[in-house]
Every structure is written in C-alpha cells, then in structure tokens.
C-alpha cells in the first residue's frame, strides 16, 4: 500500500507549492506594488499600501489613488512617474469628492483594467478624459449660458483687454503685471460664476487707477465700453471651473436643441425629455448600429451623426453637425444627470433651476433664437426642410418682416400655432417674458437685415369679399400647397386659430398679393406663365374665405 503514501506525499507537496505561489503573487506581484515602490516622496520611499478615498454622502469608495498615488490624501509624490502624478487643480478637491464622481469607472477595483472599466463585466468604461467635466452636471446646472458665438466673443474680449495680465482664470494668467514679486495682484476669477463678483468692478478699477501713483495701473488698465462690460459680466457669470462644459452647453444653445427637447425646467415637446439622459443605463442601449467601442459617449456621438439608424423611428433630423460640434454636444448630453445627493450638497445653481425656474440659456434675443428657433426656422431664419418632415417657414424674408408687426410676431411666439409644431413659447410654465419676446423679435428683424414693419392704417378686419368665390380661388390656387382644408401641407396651415387671430386682413391680403421672396410662395398680384394675375377683389375674397375658417371652425363649403 505504498502508493497511498506516494499519493499523499505528492499531492501535499503540490498543495504546498500552489500555496507558496499564491502567497507570492498576492504579496509581491501586484501592479500597484511596483508603482508605489517606484514613486518617491520628498521624504523618501513611499509607504507601500492600499489607499482609498471614501465619500459616504456620494456613496463612493475609490481606490484609484492606490496607483494614482500622487492624488491620494496627504501624499506629495516628487518622482516623475506619470501614473503617480498629482491631480491638476480643480474646484473640488479629489481627496474629498473621490475619483469616480467625475471620471466614473470602478472605484472599488485595485487593478488597472478593472478600475478603468475595460473589462467584460463592467457596464461602462471610464468617461474619456475630455468629457470629465460633464460630471459637473451631476450636481451643477450652468445657468444663462449664451450661444457659442457670443461666448467666444466674450472670451476674446476678456483676452483682448488683457485681463489675464493681473487675473488668473482656470490656472492661466496673472503672472506678468503689475507686481512681478507676487506674480499677480488681481483676484483669481476662476469661480466667479459660483462665488459671485463685485458688480461695481469697473468703477472700482477706475478709482484705483486714479489713486495709483506708481504708474502700474495707468499702464495696465484702460477704458472699457458698455458693450464690452456687458460681455465681461456675462463671461464672469459663467466661470465655475468647468470651461469645457460651458463651451459644450453654449453649443447646445446654438443649434436649437431646446426647440424640441426639455432639459430641466424648459424646452420643446417634440423630442424626448433630456433632463436625465446622461444617466441612461448603458445595458439598455441598442448598439447594433454603432461602429467602434460600445460605450455611451460613442453611442451619443453616433446618434448625432446618424440619428435614424441609431434609434429606430427617431424623428430627430440630421443636423449636419461638424465633428467638433458633435464632440461638444456629446459632452453636454453626458452632463445631463441628477445624482441623488443629500439636499445640503445641492449647489445654488441647481436649486435656482429646480425651484425658481432660472434660465439655462441667456435671455438675449440671439441666444433665444439660436437655442430654440434655429432648429426649425434655420440659423438665418429662412426656414428648414428636413427629409420626412413638413417644411418650416421662412421668417426673415422682406415681405414677412414688412407685413408682420412686432406685435404679430410676438403674439405668434407667445401663443404658437395650436396643433402645429410651433409651440406656445410664452403661454407655458417658465414661458418667455415680454422682454424676452421683444428681444427675439428684434433679433429676427436684425437677422432679416433690419427691416422695419410698414405701418398699417387700416382696421384689422376689413376684407368683405365673396367667401364662396374665395373658396373656389383657394382650391384652384392655394390648396396645392396649403391643403384643401387649409390644414397645411407643403405650405403652412392657414386655418390655424393662432394665425387667424393674430393676422390682420392687411397681412393676409398683402402676403397673397406680394408672396414671400426666397420661398415657393409667389405674389399672386403678378402673373406667372401658368396663371393670370389675381385682382385685388379676388384676393380680398380669398382673405374673406380664410376668415370664414376661423369664424365658425366649419369645413369650407360644408
């Protein structure tokens, strides 16, 4: 029975060998061991151990700092080991907020692939570094962000006026003048959007300039005109330590997304509510049409590129966005989250947006137009035509701007066109104020080349033609585009109560007579190769007929 002794001998030696192997690899072969062994602090060798940042309020346990040991609380790594480098300066200290709060990934893990989420069984890899600031949206809502052109103008103004000379902004500037000894004199402006800033900064600067005798102020501070000051004030109001997120949101406010989508407290209803779209469950996304990595950022980008093939049945038009725009919009979409955090953690901007209806877009006419109107009426106001959708009318042609009074345009925006894609942008929760409406109207006029309305001396309702004749004429000339029941088709709906209430007879009459330049609507007072010109009397009859649609709401001729 020796073989049993051999069995015991060999298997015991085997077990022992395996245990030794396991012990050695457990204690000596871990990736982070070698990283920490290679990282030196100013006091010498680093203490090799697991490190972590726990934030119970956010529910995070982040062991990332085991490898990224330079970011661990209280560690100052001096060796130039890239992985162990300290975190670049950010508003919230990573040692307090943890890592996954912004970068996502698997905080509990202590091995690179697992921690970065590049393993099969982790739902989503880390957020690419370029999108990290999207995570600010977890708690914060940037408010009153202008369109990207205006943001760029403001940034350039800040730069052109050389504010960087004395002030520091997001780690830049403040190093040259006026006091080379301290490096800078002006306060750091990185967080003025959160912490606020002196509204009287300009008079205060001027006063200092006058009081200064050394000449430093005289050399470095000059006059700033009102327009520039408005831009600078707006710019300072946006500084919350996340410049790329502000840029992304400015892009969102430039391509008309809010015209169809709600984010937070305001937006159109055609598209889906995007308020929490950034926290979509990646496991529930359909990646069948996605090229490249199956990650949520990639899905969003692809969706902007080819909306219909990414989401079956999507009505989202292909906006023909550039790669740069897609990148910015992807970042903004990723920022649309609402992590449930204790109330005490909710920042002021989120509370203002949630409780007090603060605007997420700036209230100037240009931004409102770009953020809301431009996706349908076009950046130039000349209308849009998307495949599969009815055409959207031009609102900046000469005839429209001459015939439509400011009141007409404002009333149209306020009340919309019931039942049509044009929503009542004023008569709704958080709807536009009178000032906002006026500024949009002014912007639309400016967009059309500053055309003023022609004063109309006639009463609003004067047409007294023959409705029956008007109906015949309508069927012969107008129904092809506006529909047999005037319900709209290629051309806008004319039986819409919103239109018929706001439009004067003069408006309707002159529109038929003069047409709309730059559109398929031709003036009917002038003949064309296919038909003769209409007489004024005939046009009046058509107007009378159209009025009859609004008066009783009955079907024409019925």
């Amino acid at each position: 029975m020796k073989k049993n002794k051999y069995l015991l001998l060999i298997s015991s030696l085997g077990v022992f060998a395996l245990l030794v192997y396991a012990a050695v690899s457990e204690n000596f072969f871990k990736e982070w061991h070698s990283i920490q062994a290679g990282a030196k602090t100013s006091e010498g060798q680093l203490d090799v151990r697991l490190r972590q940042i726990i934030n119970p309020s956010l529910g995070t346990t982040d062991r990332c700092v085991t490898c990224h040991v330079g970011m661990a609380p209280g560690e100052t790594v001096v060796s130039d080991l890239k992985v162990a480098a300290p975190h670049p300066p950010v508003v919230h200290s990573p040692t307090e907020m943890g890592c996954t709060t912004c970068h996502s990934g698997q905080g509990l893990a202590t091995e690179k692939l697992d921690a970065h989420g590049d393993v099969e069984f982790w739902p989503e890899p880390m957020l690419p570094a370029k999108y990290a600031y999207a995570s600010c949206g977890t708690c914060h809502v940037p408010l009153e962000v202008p369109n990207s052109a205006r943001l760029e103008l403001a940034r350039k103004t800040f730069e052109r006026l050389d504010c960087y000379a004395c002030h520091r902004l997001d780690g830049r500037g403040g190093t040259l003048r006026p006091s080379p000894a301290t490096g800078m004199e002006g306060p750091d402006l990185s967080h003025t959007g959160i912490k606020g800033f002196d509204a009287n900064w300009y008079p205060a600067h001027l006063a200092k300039k006058e009081a200064d005798t050394s000449g430093l102020w005289a050399n470095s501070f000059g006059e700033v005109d009102d327009n520039e000051r408005a831009l600078l004030d707006q710019f300072l109001g946006l500084q919350m330590g996340a410049p790329s997120l502000i840029r992304a949101k400015a892009e969102y406010n430039s391509v008309g997304c809010t015209g169809c989508h709600v984010t937070g407290n305001f937006g159109g209803e055609t598209g889906v509510d995007l308020s929490r779209v950034g926290e979509k469950d990646p496991a529930r996304l359909d990646y069948s049409a996605i090229e490249g990595a199956h990650t949520y950022p990639n899905w969003i980008a692809q969706h902007f590129r080819l909306p219909l093939s990414t989401v079956q049945g999507s009505q989202m038009p292909d906006l023909a966005l550039s790669d740069r725009q897609i990148d910015l919009l992807t970042m903004y979409v990723l920022s649309l989250r609402r992590r449930s955090v204790p109330d005490i953690w909710l920042p002021k901007d989120r509370v203002r947006a949630m409780r007090f209806g603060a605007r997420e877009f700036a209230s100037d006419g240009e931004t409102i137009y770009k953020a809301i109107c431009s996706s349908c009426h076009g950046a130039s106001g000349s209308g849009m035509r998307y495949p599969g959708l009815p055409p959207y009318p031009s609102i900046t042609n000469r005839e429209f701007l001459e015939l439509a009074s400011d009141d007409f345009i404002a009333a149209t925006i306020r009340g919309g066109r019931p039942g049509r894609p044009m929503l009542a942008w004023g008569d709704r929760q958080n709807g536009f104020t009178a000032e906002e409406l006026a500024s949009v109207v002014a912007y639309i006029r400016a967009l059309g080349g500053g055309i003023a309305p022609i004063p109309d001396t006639r009463p609003p309702r004067w047409a007294a033609g023959d409705a029956k004749a008007g109906n015949r004429l309508y069927l012969a000339n107008c129904a092809g585009c506006h529909g047999a029941l005037a319900e709209g088709g290629e051309g806008p709906a004319l039986n819409n109560p919103g239109l018929l209430t706001a439009a004067t007879d003069t408006f309707l009459f002159e529109t038929i007579a003069r047409g709309r330049s730059g559109t398929v609507m031709k003036g009917f007072r002038t003949p064309s190769p296919t038909r003769r010109a209409m007489t004024d009397r005939e046009i009046e009859s058509v107007v009378t007929y159209l009025r009859s649609l609004g008066a009783n709401g009955k079907r024409p001729g019925g």
């Binding site: 029975m1 069995l7 015991l8 298997s11 893990a109 202590t110 091995e111 069984f121 496991a283």
Partner: protein
Amino acid sequence: MEKAESSALKEIWGNLLSSPRRIYETAFRSGAPKTDRTRSSFVFGNVFLHLHSVRTHIWSLKWSTTMGLGIISTAAFLITLVTGILLMFYYKPYPDVAYQSMKDIHFVVPTGRFIRNIHRWAANVMVIAVILHMARTFFTASYRKPREFNWLIGWGLLVTTLALSFTGYLLPWDQLAYWAITIGANIAQSPREITDALGITQYFDIGGLQRTILLGSDEVGAEALIRFYLLHVMILPLILVMLMAVHFWRIRKDGGIARPDDADEIVGNEAKTSYPVFTEQPEKTYHLAAIVKGRTPAVGSGPENTLPSMPHLFYAELGVLMLTTFICLALALISDAPLKEIANPLVPENPAKAPWYFLGLQEIVSFSAFTGGIGIPALVWIGLGLIPFLDREKTGTGRWLGGPGGWNLFIWSLLIGFGASVGIEAFAIYFGWLREWFPDVPQLAITVINPGTVLTAIYAAYSIYVVRKHGSTRAGAVALFTCFLCGFVVLTVVGTYFRGPNWEFYWTPSDWPGH
C-alpha cells in the same frame, strides 16, 4: 514542616514540567500506534476516527474499488466549508451591498479572490464527485442489501449538494445570479402550466405558492437574497452534515465497502505481500468483543485479508483529501470565478444560463418549464430512490458491472443513450418542435410531448426490452441509468457550449451576434 512544604512545591513544579507529556498521554491514551493493538485503540479511542472500523479490508483499499469518490466529495465539502466561512467574514446579504462586498473580496481582502475561486471550484468538484460517486455505487451494485438505506441517504445528499450549489449562485447578486434565480424561481412556479391547463390555478396555485415561499416576495429582491443566504450558509449545510454523519456511520454498520463474495480469494496474495505494516509482526489476531447474538462479523472472513485502518486507510483518505485540495487550488489559480455586472432587473442576461449541471434541464425547459424543471427531475429522482428496492438480485454485487449483461450491455446502453439524445436534440434544433409546426397547439400538448419526454420514453422502452432480454431487473436498471447519464451529459454539453442568445443553437460562441 518546612520540608513538607518544599516537597509539595517541588511536586507541583514537577507536575508542571511533566504536564505537556501528560496532556498528550491523556489525549492519546493508547500511545504510539506501533502495534496492531495500539493501532486499533488509536482508531476507536478517537472521536473523529472511530467512524472507521479499526481494520479495513484490502478490497476496499484498492483504488479501483471506489476511486476515492466519496472521500473526494467529502474533501470538497470540507474545502467549501472552510472557504465559505472565510467568505462570510466579508459578505453582506443585501442587494447591491452584496455585490459591493464581492468586489471588496476581490480587490482588497488579502487572498479574497483566491478563496472565492477555491470555494467555487470546490463546489463544482463536489457536484461532479457526488454524481460520479453515485454512478460508482450504482455500477458496482453496492446499493444492495444491507446498503439500501444508505443509498437513500446518498440520494438525499445529492439533492442537498445541488441545492447548496444553486443557493450559492444568487449570493454575488450579479447578472448571472439574478437571472439564474429568476428562472429557477419561475421553474418552481411552473406547475401552473398544468393547473392553468386544467383551469384550477385560482383555487390551487401550488406553483405560485412554491415561488412565493422560495423568494419571500413576488420578485427577486432582498427577501429572496436573505432566504438563499440562510439556506446556503445554515440550513442546507446542517442538513448535509447530518446526512453525511448518518451516511458514514451506516457504511461502518453495513460492513464497510461492498465487495464480491470471492474478494478474499482475489486479494489473498496481495495481503501477504503488504503485511506487515511497519516492522513488527502482530502479536496476535483478535476480534472485537461484541455483545451481540450470533457470530461476530470477523469470524469466517479471515483477518489476514484486512489491514489496520491506522495507517493504511488514513494514508489513502488523507492522500485523496490532499489531491482534491490540490485540484481545487490549481483550478482556482488558473481560472477566476465569474462576477458579471451588478444585477439589473430590467435587462436579462442573454443567454441567461443556470449553473452548468442544470443546463441539461434547461434544454428541456426551453420546451416546457414544467416538464424540464419539475416533471422529468422528479421522475428521475423517484426512480433513483427506488433502485435498491426494485433490484433485489444477488449477482455482481461489489464488482464493476458484475451483473447480467456486463460490460457489453453497458456499451450498448452508452451507444443508445448518446445516439438517442444527440438524435433528438439534432431533430429539435433542425426541424423545430410542435409550436413551430402548429402555432395554435395547446401548451398541455407540449408539456406532454417534447424532446425530454420523448427521450425518456425511448430510454424506458429500451430498458424494458433489456429487462425482457436478460430476464433481470438489474440489467434494465443498468440500461436505464446509463442512458439517463448519457442524456444528462449530452443535454448539459449542448446547453453549455452550443446555446447562444435567445437560446438559439450556435456551433461556437464566436458565431453569436454582437450585443
């Protein structure tokens, strides 16, 4: 006076010095096991060893007799016991928190992942060993008198082992776990297939009751997790340990491992060559005194064909235990236990697979939940339990396939078992089944006629033919058992390796459509 005091102190001092030796002596009263006598008392004087008889028949020590499968099962259980208790230090049985604690075990508990891997592999080894142990007992016809009841205990141990493994499956609270348990819980509910067809579900909802009691709720959540945890760490291990104790004690009471009547003649020569054990000749042979009526067990069975359990049996047992440990450790170092994404009740795993030993049933379940999940398993279980009471023949006990038919019958049964199961699987995969042919077919028809029941019928028919041909129940049992074993293997392999998303057939996972 002074002198007496100092001598008393001296005595205490002397006692103190001698106490280690005396502790040893009082613990191991028999002294070093160098003679047959001390070897015997070493065994029966030790509470942990006295389940063994003091002498072991050489037939039982042959590797080919048992292949150590019982000891492997026990060893694997001991390993899961130790590693399981270690894991309990960190595991928190609450949804989501449970998953976090798995991550902590993986990443920050020293050797945590290694321990979990061992636990998982030992559990799998245990399931395999228990099944093979049952097959060994069956094929050597060791379940016969007087071991019928021990077969029943083993039958209970198999169920308990599978239940232990299955309840452990939910605990990580990952996608794999969540959907396997959802499926398992709904299998418990599947008697509704019958009650629905009879229209009595609203009066007699046994399926719904089973599911509710299993989950403690109408969904897989915190209640289900704590129930599975309790079953896994407390109730089932207790049941298992109690059954094991009875199982081992019964082996002893039933006269050790079953051996053929001519075992002594066969091992006669071996006994001479392997004796003596160490250096000493035995002083005398002896029998255990027994206050029983009639002959003592040793009489007439030649003590020359037995060896002292200490050390011969213990070398074998310890060797197998260490071998099992080695296998589990090696597997644990080679392959990590899976931990998928955190459980997501809205997104099913695709494909959602149960633990591998249930995938054969899942194959049948993919036709009818009741037949695959309850009907056929129950039938097999009852059949297995009845084996020793149906087969009361004498020939071939203790010898591999020693009965009528022999190895020839076994090979034929293998061929038919594999052939029929592969054939029926191929047919169902290629041509579909009733619902593909007649979309309006009632579910009851599929519950009754599906690949599982057809296969069972083929096996049963073959087995009846064998019974008639050999005129032996044993032969029929061998045929049926072998066939079912083949069916189990084939269906399990198909379920494990050839089923992809939507439970479609794929030759390799690389053919799966990307998700």
